[in-house]
């Protein structure tokens, strides 16, 4: 199964969620600023990355985990991509997880300052702090996604 975590820029909440899914971050302890910055793609994307489905890794069940920045399209992006998967009769191979629901003002403001205004030294600490504040919600989101993916896998086995 392909699991795509998507958010506005594909740079913060989706990357953190994908990292949690892959075990790159410990779900039981709050990540430090350094932990977050070390993650691949975290606060490192450019405008050209919008719409690119970027591979983050493969989890212990063989699910491929990706991140995607989709601007302000919200849940519509899930419908669009799932609709395409349905046309290809591959909908059972795809799980889309919208991470924009966990975004807080610090993440929005810090992300905008760092990525759009390119004021990294100002924006990055703000967005990292915001990510820490949203961390528990991201853990819940990822746990739900992992459960859905596992259930889907068991459905295939059974």
């Amino acid at each position: 199964m392909k699991i795509i975590y998507h958010c506005f820029g594909g740079s913060h909440s989706s990357v953190t969620a994908a990292a949690l899914h892959l075990g790159l971050l410990n779900k039981d302890s709050l990540p430090t600023w350094e932990d977050l910055i070390m993650l691949p793609y975290y606060d490192k994307t450019s405008d050209a990355d919008f719409g690119s489905i970027r591979y983050m890794g493969t989890d212990e069940f063989g699910h491929e985990v990706y991140v995607l920045g989709k601007k302000s399209l919200g849940d519509r992006y899930s419908s669009i991509l799932m609709g395409v998967a349905q046309l290809l009769q591959r909908q059972d191979q795809l799980l889309l997880v919208n991470c924009t629901g966990v975004l807080n003002w610090s993440m929005k403001l810090g992300g905008f300052t760092s990525r759009r205004m390119r004021l990294v030294s100002i924006g990055r600490p703000v967005v990292s702090w915001g990510t820490q504040q949203a961390f528990r919600q991201l853990v819940n989101l990822v746990e739900t996604a992992r459960l859905r993916a596992t259930q889907s896998l068991q459905g295939h086995i059974n």
Binding site: K70, L73, I80, G83, L87, L94
Partner: protein
């Protein structure tokens, strides 16, 4: 094979392009076009089935908002990720010169009452774009490695 015409809305210019491709529309008369301005279909966010072409390929229209190329990029990538190719699904963008204005009118006319007011205005604007849309469909037909290779007798 599936062919998806992608535009900022799925029930206006991309629908026109799909119908031109299907040879069901040869002049800018949209009022009787099936699914024209259909808000319910558009709201679902899924590709809208228009019809099958003469070769048996299913033709769809899809509305994706302002950034059409971003979504086209994602769809093309997704097709490859799902171990499919352009022989399974082709996606082609449809542009108009009054893109922002049509999208704005479509967004403002988000309920059925307002849609009845704005739809004729959108229709009027798109009449001026008909030749441009038809040109894009011609280029798509001539450039794409398509349907003839899946000819159904």
């Amino acid at each position: 094979m599936k062919i998806i015409f992608v535009g900022s809305t799925g029930v206006h210019h991309s629908l026109i392009a799909a119908n031109i491709y299907l040879e069901k529309l040869d002049q800018a008369d949209y009022q009787n076009l099936n699914l024209w301005g259909d808000l319910d279909k558009e709201a679902l966010g899924f590709p809208i089935f228009v019809n099958n072409d003469r070769w048996g390929n299913s033709v769809y229209s899809l509305g994706v908002g302002a950034d059409v190329l971003m979504v086209v990029k994602s769809i093309k990538q997704l097709v490859k990720m799902l171990n499919c190719s352009e022989r399974d699904l082709i996606v082609t963008p449809v542009f108009i010169k009054r893109e922002r204005l049509v999208l704005l009118l479509h967004t403002v006319g988000c309920n059925k009452f307002l849609n009845q007011i704005f739809l004729p205005i959108i229709g009027y604007l798109l009449k001026k774009e008909f030749a441009f849309i038809r040109q894009q469909v011609r280029e798509f037909k001539s450039g794409a490695d398509l349907p003839k290779c899946h000819f159904r007798h």
